[in-house]
């Protein structure tokens, strides 16, 4: 039984192993930290992420490599997405630093350790080539996030949000698992590449497969937060401490995109007809409900939550247009536009929540729209940064958000579904209203709160860089766009 056992090749999974080791080490080192600001823990967590990025770059190869008996896959798409995850997490930890320091319940070493374990979960999801690994990665990410949402335990809103997130997250995991078990029943394997092969060979019961697919798509939709599985998003975004909302709203979207690609495109591409139809319904509903409901919000975090729903709907459009009546000619273009959209969205959403964190201070959350009134008079530069973020989210030309929307629309039009493109444009126009309202509040209303901004210098520099990146990458989007196209070309 043990005769044919070979030690798995650990090199492709080196960043995961490094991060797991560092997280465990930081957990122990943090016990000895006397400093109430937890500077050492913070610095070590950042170093762990930077170390991961360096290892990732040095171990990356053009080839697709499998290890751990095909449970783990390392391809260019995984490398690229993981590097974006590390960058996002570094930014997230910097942004949340001041907020966490001001709140005693969250100012603990565990905050950073849980963030690292969440990162590990995302990395496992991105590199998964087996249903078991996808599920385990998802649970690792979710469990860390549930705990982080509840960390501000004396706040009723946070505990309620954590409870809702936990119960609905468990339900979604159940759906996903049920769908996976049905697909396992139909194909007889859990390995994604083998599922694709068996489906290609035919001789698979289609009824069971579609049955499993419905549950699989529902589970994924829950995790992505698209209508009609979006109910948890506004409550969790609103109730969670802003630093955790920033984390939930940014990097996990990259991981969710990765598992959608692995499961639907990597494993079930022969079923594209079925899941594309499902995704189109989810996508149109998300754009409609997300954009319309966002108009009615007075809380910025809630508004951004509905905006997240509509953005995820828009991103799904890119995934739905890969295969047109059995012809996969446009697939590369469509999927790379969706990937570019996710990366652009993460950049923008990090900036938007970063602005809320910048304005917040001890005992003041700055998460109402009214808190942004007259920001231009208090700090013209940061009003300008927020203006760029909002314009980019609305899709105003020559910001990165515009090119993200543009490339997805291009893919939709290329697939011949003109009506879908028109629907998407109409809802984007409706959505522009609430983004521009923030701009109006900042520039044309009198401030209700005259106190100067107190954020530390590093935070100011980083958020300025974030805003400038949105503008500069909007003028030169080709760099990231060609990276996405190259990654998918090498991975699919």
């Amino acid at each position: 039984m043990f005769d044919n056992f070979v030690v798995p090749d650990l090199l492709p999974a080196a960043p995961e192993l490094f991060l797991a080791g560092m997280a465990l080490a930081i957990l122990m080192i943090d016990l000895t930290v006397k400093d109430s600001r937890r500077t050492l823990t913070f610095v070590l967590a950042q170093l762990a992420l930077i170390g991961c990025a360096i290892i990732q770059v040095y171990t990356s190869s053009q080839e697709v490599t499998y290890t751990f008996s095909h449970m783990f896959v390392d391809d260019v798409m995984a490398d690229l997405l993981k590097i974006f995850v590390y960058m996002t997490m570094i930014v997230v930890l910097f942004y949340s630093r001041g907020y966490v320091l001001d709140r005693a319940a969250m100012n603990k070493g565990e905050y950073y350790v849980l963030a690292l374990f969440a990162t590990l979960g995302m990395m496992v999801m991105i590199s998964a080539n087996n249903f078991v690994t996808i599920y385990i990665g998802l649970e690792l990410l979710s469990l860390s996030l549930y705990a982080m949402v509840a960390m501000n335990r004396d706040s009723l809103a946070s505990t309620e949000a954590a409870m809702k997130y936990f119960v609905l997250g468990a339900l979604a995991s159940g759906m996903l698992l049920y769908g996976m078990s049905m697909i396992y029943g139909a194909t007889g394997t859990l390995e994604i590449t083998q599922i694709a092969e068996r489906l290609y060979g035919g001789d698979v019961n289609k009824t069971v497969l579609v049955f499993g697919l419905v549950f699989l798509v529902s589970g994924l939709a829950f995790k992505l937060g698209v209508v009609p599985f979006h109910m948890w998003i506004p409550d969790v975004y609103h109730g969670a401490p802003t630093a955790v909302t920033l984390l939930i709203g940014s990097a996990p979207k990259l991981a969710a995109f990765a598992i959608v690609m692995r499961l639907l495109v990597g494993g079930l591409i022969t079923m594209a007809q079925d899941w594309q139809a499902m995704l189109i319904i989810l996508s149109v509903l998300s754009m409609a409900i997300g954009n319309l409901a966002a108009i009615a919000q007075t809380n910025l975090k809630r508004m951004l939550a509905y905006s997240a729903i509509s953005h995820m709907g828009f991103m799904l459009l890119g995934i739905t247009t890969g295969v047109v009546s059995g012809d996969a000619r446009y697939a590369l273009n469509a999927y790379s536009s969706a990937m570019f959209y996710v990366i652009a969205y993460v950049l923008m959403t990090a900036g938007a929540f970063g602005m809320i964190l910048l304005m917040a201070r001890a005992g003041f959350e700055a998460d109402n729209l009214d808190d942004f009134k007259g920001l231009n008079k208090r700090s013209p530069w940061f009003a300008g940064v927020m203006l760029m973020i909002m314009f980019s989210m609305a899709g105003v030309p020559f910001f990165i958000g515009f090119f993200a929307k543009f490339s997805v629309l291009q893919a939709v039009v290329a697939s011949g579904q003109i009506w879908l493109a028109i629907v998407a444009v109409i809802f984007s126009l409706i959505g522009a209203f609430y983004y521009l309202r923030v701009v109006k509040l900042m520039y044309f209303d009198a401030p209700t709160d005259e106190s100067p901004l107190t954020a530390p210098l590093d935070m100011r520099l980083l958020i300025s860089a974030n805003g400038v990146a949105i503008a500069v990458l909007g003028i030169f989007p080709q760099f990231i766009m060609s990276l996405c196209a190259y990654a998918l070309l090498r991975s699919l």
Binding site: F2, E110, F117, L143, A147
Partner: protein
């Protein structure tokens, strides 16, 4: 119907009854006890499939450890189920429609002949120990998810400590800093009361 099939149907009937009682029992302790019964019958069904390791594991882990702890918690918390059931009748129609639809759809698919596995396939040849098999697989083919699962358990532990631990209480000394800054309104509460005439 041979003996094994009869035992299977017998155990399944108990399992379904127990599972129904878990969600319908008025007394939470009864619900927990029925869950234990459900785990026992699950173990029985696994034993019937010659998966003796899983059968023993579910009884040792779930019945022996998890459910005992759970019973303690339920007994200590004294949950008022009637308050939790408020709004049940409002949600019933929508829930019932969805539930019936789900059951019909699942029945249609699961009842199809595709799901009838020939009995011979499920039988384990003599001399194979599935405890050994599971052990070998866990540490060879499935070592990656297995180790990650241990990290998930660790995260659960960290989360439990973070959410409940409120720092050591070593001594009952007072904080002079807070004492100096105390104000009258922290100590004295002025109540407005109607004048009582005696």
């Amino acid at each position: 119907m041979d003996f094994q099939t009869a035992v299977f149907f017998f155990l399944s009937a108990i399992l379904i009854f127990a599972a129904m009682r878990v969600i319908t029992a008025r007394n939470p302790v009864h619900a927990a006890l029925h869950l234990i019964l459900a785990f026992f019958t699950c173990g029985g069904i696994w034993a019937l499939l010659q998966a003796e390791f899983l059968a023993i594991a579910i009884i040792l882990v779930y019945v022996g450890a998890v459910m005992v702890l759970f019973l303690f918690v339920v007994m200590m918390l004294d949950i008022n189920l009637d308050r939790m059931r408020q709004g049940f009748w409002n949600y019933l129609p929508l829930g019932a429609v969805l539930g019936v639809l789900m059951v019909m759809e699942m029945g249609l698919v699961l009842g199809s002949k595709y799901f009838q596995v020939p009995a011979a396939d499920a039988m384990v040849p003599a001399g194979v120990s599935n405890t050994k098999e599971i052990g070998a697989l866990m540490f060879s083919e499935y070592v990656y998810p297995f180790e990650l699962a241990s990290i998930i358990l660790l995260v659960g532990m960290i989360a439990a400590i973070v959410l409940t631990y409120r720092g050591p209480k070593k001594s009952k000394n007072t904080n002079p800093n807070q004492q100096v800054f105390v104000q009258a309104k922290d100590r004295i509460r002025v109540l407005q009361m109607p004048v009582e005439k005696d």
